[in-house]
Symmetry: C2
Subunit: 367 residues, 2 copies
C-alpha cells in the first residue's frame, strides 16, 4: 500500500485538468476559519521579545503541555508536543515497533494510508483486519489477527475513512489485546472534537503502559498547516525513547505555531468548537440525504469528516472516481486507496460548503 | 557520546543555581532580534485566508524553495524545506546510512554532539578524526580514517565548536574521499552567514550525487525556535528517499514559520546580515582580547559563534566549567562534551552582549 499523498494528488490533478467545474471532496483539509484567538496569538508572537524566537523546550512550550495535560486528564510529564499528528504517529509506531517483539503491525482495513506507508517504510510487515460494513472494528476479529508476531496495533477513532466511533468496550478490548500479545496499541484521536454520537471513548481512559494516544490541533482548530500535535505516553521507557527520537529528528516543534495554539486553547469560547462540529455534521446530513435518494449504501458517520458511499452498480477505483469527476463534477477518493474491504466505495470529505451542489450533481448522475 | 541537550542543560542548571550573577556563554541561541520583515511576515500570515492555514506542500512552500534555490544556485527540485537544520541532518545522515554500505559514520572531533547522538541512535558505529589545534580538519587525516566501512561523513563549516572555516580545497577533498569510499558527505552549513575570513566555500560548489548540504535560517535570522531549514540533494534516489522520509515523519513543516522566512528573505536589506555578522565578530574580538591578556590558547574563529579556549593550568571538563561559574561568574561548555581532542578546552558562545563583562571576569580570575 502506498501512502496517501501521491494518490490524493493523482485525483486532485485529474480534477484540476477537467474542463468542467468540480466540487472537491477529496481532501480532509478544513475550509473554515481557525479560532480568532489563534490569529491573535500569532499577532502577539509577532511582537514578542527576541528570546521568544529561540528554541522552545524540545518537548514543547510548558503552558501548552500543561493545558493539554489538563484537558486530557494526564500528568504533564506524559505529554510530548510534536510536529502535528504525523510526527506523533511516527514516534508512536516507530518506537513501538522497536520496543515490542514481532515483525507485524496490525491495521484496520480500510486504513489511513500514512499508517501503512510508515509501516512499510520502517520494514514492518502489515496485517489488515477488515472493518464491518458500518465501519466498526470488531475486537474479536482484531484478536483473531493478533499473534506473537504482532508488535504494534494502530486504531483511529473517530475513524478516517469510515466515520466509525469505537465504543468504550472496543477500546478496552483493543488495549487488552495489545497487552495479551505483548504489543503496543496506538490510538490516533485526531478527530476527537468531531464526535456526533456522544459515544467517543478515549484510550486514555484505559490505564496501560502498552497504549499511546496521538492527537493534534490540525482538525480541531482547522490548522493542518501549523503542525502542532502531541503524543501521550504512560510507560517511562517508551516515553524516554520517544523524547530522544523527537530531539534527534526535529530538535523541537515550531514555536509560533505552539504559541498560537496555546493562546487559542486559553481564549477560544466553547461555541467555536460546537459551531464547527455542527457545520460538519450538517454537511454530512445534506450529503447522506442525497445518497438516500440515490439508493447508495453508505457509512453513516458517528464522527470525523468523511462519508464512504457505494453506489448501485458502480465501482470504487480510480476509474470510477475519474468518471464522477468528468460526468458528475464531484471528486472523491477511491475506496481502493484505503485497502481491499471497501474497494467498491468512494470516500467523500465534507470540507467544502458546496455539499448540496455535490449532492444534487450525484443525484442527477445516478438517477 | 551523549547528544548535546542534557549536557547543555546540566551546565545551564548549575549556573541557574549559583548564588552569583553568571554570564551565560553556554548556548548558541542568538540574543539579537530577527529581521523586522520576519515579524511583518508573521503579522501578514495572521491575517491570511483560511486556506493558508492548511497543509503546505510536503517539500515546503514554493516561493521559499524558489528563493533558496536562487540563492544557493541549485535547481528548485533539489530543495526540501525541513523542520530546521535538525531534521535536515536527520534526513541526510539517516538516508545516507541506509543508502551507502558500511557500518560507520565518520565525524570530526570535537563534534557537534547531535551528529554523534544521531549516529548512535540509528545504530551506526562512529569513528572520529581529530581536528588540528586551529580547528581545521586535515583531509589526509580524514582519508586515513575512511575505509570500506565508511557510510557517511559529516562535516560542518563554519564549524561548531572550533570556528574553523574549511577552505575550498578541503571541501573538494572531502567530497572526493566520500566518492572514493562509496560514502555520502553531509556538509552542514548552518553558520554560512557568519564567515569572517571571506574563505567560506560551500560543498554545493562541488557537483556530486554523494554530497548533501544542510542549512537553516535559525542562526542567519536569529530564529532557532521557528524550525525552518533545508536540505539540498543532487542525487535522485537519495532525494526521493528523503522526501518520503520527510513526509512519513513530519508530513510537512510549519507554515507560518515558512511564510515568515520567505517574506524575510524577500524584504530584508543586506545590511541586516552585515550588521549581525559584525556584532558577533566584535564580540569574538572582545573575548579574544581578554584571552590574549590571560595567556590562554584559543581557536581564533574564522566563522560561527564560538571560541574554544584553553587556560593555563586549567581543565576543560565539567568540574572546570563549574569552577568558572562559581569563581568567575562565567558559564561555558566543557570541551569534553565535544569529544576527546579538545577536552582541556572550554567553548564560549558569544550570544550575549555581556562579553566584555565575561572577559573582565576571566581576566580577574586568571590573573
Amino acid at each position: 500500500m502506498d501512502y496517501e499523498t501521491p494518490q490524493f494528488y493523482r485525483v486532485m490533478q485529474y480534477a484540476a485538468r477537467s474542463d468542467r467545474d468540480v466540487v472537491d471532496m477529496v481532501s480532509g483539509s478544513p475550509d473554515w476559519d481557525p479560532p480568532a484567538a489563534l490569529r491573535d496569538g500569532l499577532r502577539a508572537y509577532a511582537n514578542a521579545p527576541a528570546d521568544d524566537y529561540q528554541y522552545p523546550p524540545s518537548v514543547g512550550l510548558r503552558p501548552l503541555r500543561e493545558e493539554i495535560a489538563r484537558r486530557r486528564g494526564v500528568p504533564v510529564e506524559q505529554v510530548i508536543v510534536t510536529n502535528g499528528a504525523g510526527e506523533a504517529n511516527h514516534l508512536a509506531m516507530t518506537g513501538g515497533f522497536e520496543a515490542f517483539d514481532g515483525s507485524e503491525i496490525l491495521l484496520a482495513d480500510p486504513v489511513y494510508p500514512y499508517y501503512a506507508g510508515r509501516a512499510n517504510f520502517i520494514g514492518a510487515e502489515t496485517r489488515y483486519v477488515a472493518a464491518q460494513t458500518d465501519g466498526q472494528l470488531d475486537p474479536s476479529a482484531l484478536r483473531e489477527a493478533a499473534s506473537e508476531e504482532t508488535s504494534v496495533i494502530v486504531v483511529n477513532s473517530p475513524n478516517n475513512p469510515t466515520g466509525a466511533v469505537y465504543p468504550e468496550s472496543s477500546i478496552r478490548d483493543f488495549v487488552a489485546i495489545a497487552e495479551d500479545y505483548d504489543a503496543l496499541l496506538v490510538c490516533d484521536e485526531v478527530y476527537d472534537h468531531f464526535d456526533y454520537s456522544g459515544k467517543f471513548a478515549s484510550a486514555l481512559d484505559v490505564d496501560s503502559d502498552q497504549r499511546i494516544v496521538t492527537d493534534a490541533f490540525s482538525k480541531t482548530m482547522a490548522v493542518t498547516g501549523l503542525r502542532v500535535g502531541y503524543v501521550i505516553i504512560e510507560g517511562d521507557s517508551l516515553r524516554e525513547r520517544a523524547r530522544t527520537r523527537h530531539m534527534l529528528t526535529n530538535v523541537t516543534g515550531s514555536r509560533p505555531a505552539q504559541y498560537a495554539v496555546a493562546h487559542a486553547l486559553e481564549s477560544t469560547p466553547p461555541r467555536y468548537y460546537t459551531e464547527v462540529r455542527k457545520r460538519v455534521r450538517d454537511r454530512i446530513d445534506r450529503l447522506t440525504d442525497s445518497l438516500d435518494d440515490i439508493g447508495a449504501v453508505y457509512t453513516d458517520p458517528d464522527g470525523g469528516f468523511y462519508v464512504m458511499a457505494r453506489f448501485p452498480e458502480f465501482g470504487g477505483g480510480f476509474d470510477a472516481v475519474y468518471e464522477l469527476i468528468d460526468e458528475a463534477g464531484v471528486a472523491g477518493m477511491p475506496g481502493a486507496a484505503f485497502g481491499e474491504s471497501f474497494e467498491e466505495w468512494i470516500r467523500f470529505a465534507v470540507c467544502t460548503d458546496r455539499v448540496e451542489t455535490a449532492g444534487a450533481r450525484l443525484e442527477a448522475y445516478f438517477e
